[in-house]
Amino acid sequence: MTAPAAAADAPPSRSLSGDSARALTQLGIVAAALIVAFLVLGPEQFINALTLGAIYALVAIGYTMVYGIIELINFAHGDVFMVGTFVSLSFLTSLGFSGAVRDPALLVVLLVAVFIFTSVVMGLVGVLIERSAYRPLRNAPRLAPLITAIGVSFILQNIVQIFYGPFQTNAPQIFPTDAFFEVGNVKIPILSFFIIAVAVGLMLGLQLFIGRTRMGRAMRSTALDRDAAALMGVNINRTIAITFFIGSALAGAAGVVYGLQYGVTRFDLGFQAGLKAFTAAVLGGIGNTVGAALGGFIIGFIEVAAVAFGYGRWGPAVVFGVLVIVLVFRPAGLLGQQVGERA
């Protein structure tokens, strides 16, 4: 039996024009979806959805980054977000602020301060959790760190509950919620624009970091193949710690945003919010930060749409339904890669 003479392999299935075409179609789909959503929801709800989506996106990124690098679903991540809301509100209240701050200069300073403070604190909390609860179990059977993560989640919730009680706590909405852009007879809160801008800015900053810096490369390579990365000289422990820091810091920022937007928080906020953010991460393609952002916005839209159409009570059920459906039919998510087939 002889082999065919010309052993020509198939040319690579992608060409440059193919890539651009795909990107354009994707952008087109996104644009079309946005337009449809705008028309269906109306301007105010549209902005609401973007705002909520931004929050979910920020939290979802943390989930996806951690999963991408150590293949662990960090159950406690939603509670990191929740603690972030409390950290930011206590920062503001202890400085004596309880309501809108009208002086623009002071407002800017305060915002910068609370964002930095909360993000750094939550980042450190994330690192602490990783080091004490997850790192020792890095080689244990999968069940162990999952259970630990749940345990950590409960610990966080209860520590907060001890200090703040089981009831709603008010968060100072220092950004005035009564400031609007008026377009025609539509009033769009300036706060919403601020939140969206902050979220997008952070996400872009993250993409730059991952794509352009040495540490970002280290993170990417560790996520792809930990052993190879280690052989190349990447400090795995430090890389993982930094991943946790960034993810948790973003969740902290989301917490600040949440407090500004909704003005209230509770110890059990993290559970459902975390689950929805995780849905977003899975929807977008676990391990893919752009996907997490995309997923976050989609989930935000779904939830706002559910409320807008009077199915508010079913909102969570719909989101979780999305989770189940995505995992069953397309576990790779929207932007995830189909990595080969398994019989």
Binding site: L72, P136, F154, N158, L275, P316, V324, V328
Partner: protein
């Protein structure tokens, strides 16, 4: 396993434990029956003895034991899923709810109206007779949902399965909460019939013994089934899947159906517990079935000793008692003592903090639980042997829908 150790047993306490282990393995069912009989007799007796007797009267104690028994059943079922087959189910309470609501539909005025039947008219005062067949029907209904949920999801990797079950565990109570017309929403379904036994009459809220003895019986039966299954060909298949799924498939085990079986059996046990619980509380409402329940049962399985049914049962009982008795007592105790800081602590509220710490601590120090299955102990403390991807040149992936 039917293969009995014929290596000479070491001396001392370890030898004793091994001999007990061998003996009980050989006569499994009798061991369970006798053991449960002893438990059934000892517990109420203990309740009459100080300091327990001064805390509450015997009837309240027995009632508490029965309630603990519900969790023992749940823990046994979840142990089959998590401990033996190694599938992480975080939404176990959903099946508990399904069993409970199934009974509520069969055995309450509201439910009967929805179904279009009238049990009370059919059976009159003996309407509680429906409890007994419902134990089986409730189990089957829950098992059906277990299959419906498991069929598309059991091929997912462990973490994803956990999340999907968590999502399902959230969806079910929300559905029961919001489908007002069918489920009476937040108020739940009340007027659920208590069980009826000819010769005993209808169970009551005052006399704890009928419920207690029924629960003892249920636990005994379920435990016998669990042990038999775990020691049968199916049980071996579950353990093989848990240790190395690829190798298990390479030996002819249909991993999908085998996992599904574990899932369905676990769900049916929760269904039985749900039926019983509904018949005892006489009301079912969505808030009885939140994540807290799923998590508590999981904690019981993990802390009690994954894979070991007696260990899990004891763990469940202990944890339940700690929650509902010890923590309450601590509260009262410190209140009466008047110690400043301790007095302010709400120990009941703390319980989940304690769970959390206990779980994390357990995983770090003794992941096989308090009363481990010896094989699990070996597995969890073994050197890292990555099954790895020796056969596949591709990185390990989530199992995709290529089906």
């Amino acid at each position: 396993m039917s293969v009995v150790q014929d290596v000479p047993a070491p001396g001392g306490s370890r030898g004793f434990r091994m001999r007990i282990g061998t003996l009980s393995a050989r006569h499994r069912s009798w061991t369970i029956i006798i053991g449960m009989a002893i438990v059934a007799a000892v517990l109420p007796t203990l309740a009459l003895v100080p300091p327990f007797s001064s805390f509450q009267n015997q009837a309240s104690w027995i009632d508490g034991f029965t309630n603990a028994g519900v969790f023992v059943l749940l823990a046994l079922g979840l142990n089959l899923v998590v401990g033996v087959a190694g599938l992480l189910d975080l939404g176990y309470a959903a099946f508990f709810a399904i069993g409970a609501y199934a009974y509520a539909y069969a055995a309450s005025p509201f439910g009967n109206e929805i179904l279009g039947i009238d049990v009370a008219a059919l059976l009159g005062d003996a309407k509680g007779l429906i409890f007994w067949p419902m134990l089986i029907i409730g189990a089957l209904v829950a098992a059906t949902f277990g299959i419906l949920l498991g069929a598309p999801t059991l091929r997912l990797r462990g973490d994803y399965l956990a999340i999907v079950t968590l999502g399902f565990g959230e969806i079910v109570p929300i559905v029961f909460l919001n489908a007002d017309d069918l489920t009476n929403g937040t108020n739940g379904i009340g007027g659920v019939f208590r069980p009826y036994l000819p010769g005993v009459g209808s169970f009551t809220a005052i006399d704890p013994w009928p419920y207690y003895l029924t629960m003892i019986g249920l636990i005994t039966i379920v435990m016998i089934f669990c042990y038999r299954l775990a020691e049968s060909r199916i049980g071996r298949a579950w353990e093989a899947i848990r240790e190395d799924e690829l190798a298990a498939a390479a030996n002819g085990i249909n991993t999908v159906t085998t996992k599904l079986l574990a899932f369905a059996l676990g769900a049916s046990t929760a269904g039985i517990a749900g039926v019983f619980n509904a018949a005892k509380l006489t009301v079912v409402s969505p808030d009885q079935f939140g994540f807290v329940v799923s998590f508590t049962v999981l904690a019981m399985v993990v802390l009690g000793g994954m894979g070991n049914f007696w260990g899990v049962a004891v763990g469940a009982f202990v944890i339940y008692t700690i929650n509902n008795v010890v923590l309450k007592t601590l509260n009262q105790f410190f209140d009466t003592l008047g110690i400043p800081i301790l007095e302010d602590i709400d120990f009941i509220g703390l319980q989940f903090l304690l769970y959390g710490i206990a779980l994390v601590g357990m995983m770090l120090l003794r992941p096989e639980g308090l009363f481990p299955n010896s094989r699990r102990k070996r597995e969890l403390h073994a050197e890292v042997t990555q099954p790895g991807e020796d056969e596949m040149t591709l990185p390990e992936v989530t199992e995709e829908g290529g089906r």
